[in-house]
Symmetry: none
Subunit: 190 residues, 4 copies
Amino acid sequence: MKKKITEKSIELFEKKGFTQTSIQDIVDELEVTKGTFYYYFSSKEQLLMAIHLEYIDDLLERQEKIMKDERKSSVEKIRNVIALLINDIKDKGPSGRVFFREIRHLSNHNIGIIKKKRNQIRLNIEKVIRTGMDNGELRPNLKPDIITFAILSLTNYSYQWFKPNGEIHSDELVQIYADVIFNGIMEKND
Amino acid sequence: MKKKITEKSIELFEKKGFTQTSIQDIVDELEVTKGTFYYYFSSKEQLLMAIHLEYIDDLLERQEKIMKDERKSSVEKIRNVIALLINDIKDKGPSGRVFFREIRHLSNHNIGIIKKKRNQIRLNIEKVIRTGMDNGELRPNLKPDIITFAILSLTNYSYQWFKPNGEIHSDELVQIYADVIFNGIMEKND
Amino acid sequence: MKKKITEKSIELFEKKGFTQTSIQDIVDELEVTKGTFYYYFSSKEQLLMAIHLEYIDDLLERQEKIMKDERKSSVEKIRNVIALLINDIKDKGPSGRVFFREIRHLSNHNIGIIKKKRNQIRLNIEKVIRTGMDNGELRPNLKPDIITFAILSLTNYSYQWFKPNGEIHSDELVQIYADVIFNGIMEKND
Amino acid sequence: MKKKITEKSIELFEKKGFTQTSIQDIVDELEVTKGTFYYYFSSKEQLLMAIHLEYIDDLLERQEKIMKDERKSSVEKIRNVIALLINDIKDKGPSGRVFFREIRHLSNHNIGIIKKKRNQIRLNIEKVIRTGMDNGELRPNLKPDIITFAILSLTNYSYQWFKPNGEIHSDELVQIYADVIFNGIMEKND
DNA sequence: CATGAATGAGTGTTCATTCAT
DNA sequence: AATGAATGAACACTCATTCAT
């Protein structure tokens, strides 16, 4: 039941937004009553927090698996992380959108917890960029923090427009984005 | 007074979000009454629409001024548009954030109007990319629509993290982002 | 202007009801502002009272003209009064409907004034019925007060369903109603 | 509680009118809160509709019981219907008054539903008049539709003035009204 | 585990009225 | 004679939350 509530909530939060979705809406769709909801969650915010935690913990775990793989070059790791973040939108689209949009409705305390984990993801990318700069895979004059933001912008903003079942496939998008990031769009005349 | 209401609303919408900001909050801060608000705006949504229109119309106008300048190369135009979009966040930060976050609270009809203008901005970028590809400034094998999304991701997502008064100056950010987009981050070994 | 306000108000009060019609609605239709309204009327209720007074005073005056005519029999007078009340709906339909429906929105003091005049109309009918009973025109065993209510029911309720431009003409309605009142509907077997 | 709300609402709607009665007024009198009201009724209009439906359905049902009674002559049926309608005002006075006065505040859709049932009552009377004309109980030259309006005028308008605990008893009123309708008020000279 | 009745604070909105100009 | 800005009290309605059963 807890699982069912979470899933239906994600669906509704994505469609109508957190504030616009009432507990009543959620329990109506599940054909239970409000009492049931409050048996499993102590508040609407706690439900939102659960959704956020599940999303970010899973993502972080999978990212760190990539990061720890010593057989991969820095470039490969970056490419893998881009793939991870883009594919997440394909596979867990609604919860991703909820994650990016509704964090504001958490309490300050909970926002802190989530942001810490989000920062961890960012710092992991920054670190691999630094490594790549040091070992000659990447240009030596980059600002790793800004480059990290550039990568996260590409991936995170894609939830705003990327339709997983649309014309372009997520694998193709990953390839194009990686190509832009690594090679740029300008014609090289040498 | 209409101006004062709009400005205070943008400030509050940015801080607390559209739904979390009540008309009461707005008029309390201005030390007027709700009647005054409704003398100037027929509804809360109409106020939000006014904010959106003002933002997008100004942006579109300035973009088209760049696009029409025949002395500029495609690369220059792209660089100028990146600068335009990034600097907007510096100069009109709060309304930009409201613009990107609260569009959902407009009616479908109004969303349509805004999206049409937003699409125009996107299509203008796409067009200049195509021109650059045709005249040899840009690599010939690009997907202009996706590249456009990449550029918009960089600029639009920056409102999420870029602090205009922080360590990094907006001009510097523009330069780095343009460098990434044009040249990529990978070291060229030739 | 005062006349214009009154007329437009009657029109709107009939269409939407007194409470549902705002001062704003009235002045919008006349393309003036609320200030203008309050220059001519001190309150919304005073406007309603003016409408009521105009209606009832005119009606009462015309009824008393009928009553004082010594050449008319009682039966003729009753028939004339029925015609007067029915035709009023044809000629001054909207204000009649406002009169019958919106009196409740007057203050107690004003309701008293109107009801006094309305009672006068009723008592005038009652008196002519008594006269008719005394002089043998009408059956001697009637209750004049109840008969009066019967007559007023027929005429006053007609505003609820009678459409002046519909199939039946008001003259015909008067004739049928007078026939019912005077002769009844039962077949006489003698 | 639903019953209590309905009853108190009828009482208040009758005293002050639908528009002039706020939900707050209703719940204050019952010493509950607005939330309770909205737990039982989804809107103020829905409450009004419930009142209307209860009134008209009961009336229609009782009328049709009279109409189907084959032992009764047409004249008897008409007399019974007059008694039914008049007594309803005695027994369910307030809801009758609400019924006749506040229908306008229903939505068009709901007005349609109620009017259909109201028309059924009217058509049932019209039919029995036609039968009476055919079988010689009533004068053959009547207009059944207008006569029906006459009867309904007498009964329906009585809510405007008839006080069940006043001088005159409802049985007496029925008798007088039936006498007027059947025999008229004019002295027959034969 | 789950229900359903009830709460109470809050929301956007309306509107008759006032008043300086 | 008319305007337009402003008021403030009221209104229908919403909703997260509580709690006895």
